[in-house]
Symmetry: C2
Subunit: 148 residues, 2 copies
DNA sequence: CGCTAGATGACAATGATTTCCACGTCCAGG
DNA sequence: CCTGGACGTGGAAATCATTGTCATCTAGCG
């Protein structure tokens, strides 16, 4: 992975969006690696990739950075039984859902408007307020089905 | 909670449904307490309730029992950031979704036919097979909103 | 340049879950 | 009734992601 050179403008923008955040080399590095990862990664894996890129950063800081990014809404999060939380840069503003391959881990975002609307309606009908939802889809992608 | 007396027939039936399972007092007790819990409970809480009921059972066995029940499809499972996995007896055959109060933990099952259909269609359109989904809805129930 | 709130990171702590392993219990066959 | 093996049990130890602690560092401001 190429790590030299200046930050892509997009990453710089994202750094700026983190609330109450000071710009530090570590945070920039976290975002940079995250931006280079097409699929979900765990905090631990992120830490390993940063180390592999020659970035000196503590695991604690990785966790804190990811938390800050999550709060800022810049990351999507899924939970994996084996690896704990997995993070991925949110490609666009708003709320997304993913279909993740149980074999290879590749993810693909899906259009979930139907679900969004439904969830909202459920909130209205049940007397619950501030309804939030987590939706995780898993399956076996075409490539893995052929391969195995 | 009353624990004496024979098993309700329903629980006995459920015990029988667990595959590769021998019927033991511990497993029966787990199912009995589970059947008496209207809301989701953690394995730890289950263990505490069993102890409170005077049932001598190890935490390990509680974990093994809920695992077996989960595999047998007799339990619904949700994940909670604070408490880990939460279990609840599945009221009927098939797949259900729940709306859980973030304050008091009370749960309410919701009709999710729309989501089921949608998930199925997503599987067909994306080339993924064996698509499964996890949907967790959280909110604040009417009672908690008033109370706080 | 010097100050200070915020950031960092090595390390310890936490807490749910799993693994280990010695022991108990049930059942079939002798 | 005895015996052997398979399965179940449970306490303790191990695992492992995640969070807390705290001394040290540094970005950003005046």
């Amino acid at each position: 992975m190429i790590v030299g050179g200046g930050l892509p403008g997009e990453v710089a923008d994202a750094v700026r969006d983190v609330p109450s955040g000071r710009s530090t080399p570590q945070r920039a590095a976290v975002l940079r690696v995250l931006a280079a990862c097409p699929d979900f990664v765990s905090a631990q894996e992120l830490h390993a990739r940063l180390a592999a890129d020659g970035v000196s950063i503590g695991l604690t800081t990785v966790y804190r950075s990811v938390q800050a990014l999550e709060r800022a809404g810049l990351l999507d999060v899924v939970r994996d039984d084996a690896e704990g939380r997995l993070y991925r840069r949110r490609p666009a503003a708003g709320h997304r859902h993913y279909l993740i391959c149980r074999d290879c881990g590749r993810s693909q975002s899906v259009d979930a408007d139907v679900v969004e609307e439904w969830a909202e309606r459920v909130g209205e009908c049940t007397g619950f307020s501030a309804v939030e939802h987590i939706l995780e889809l898993t399956g076996v992608c075409a490539r893995c089905r052929v391969g195995s």
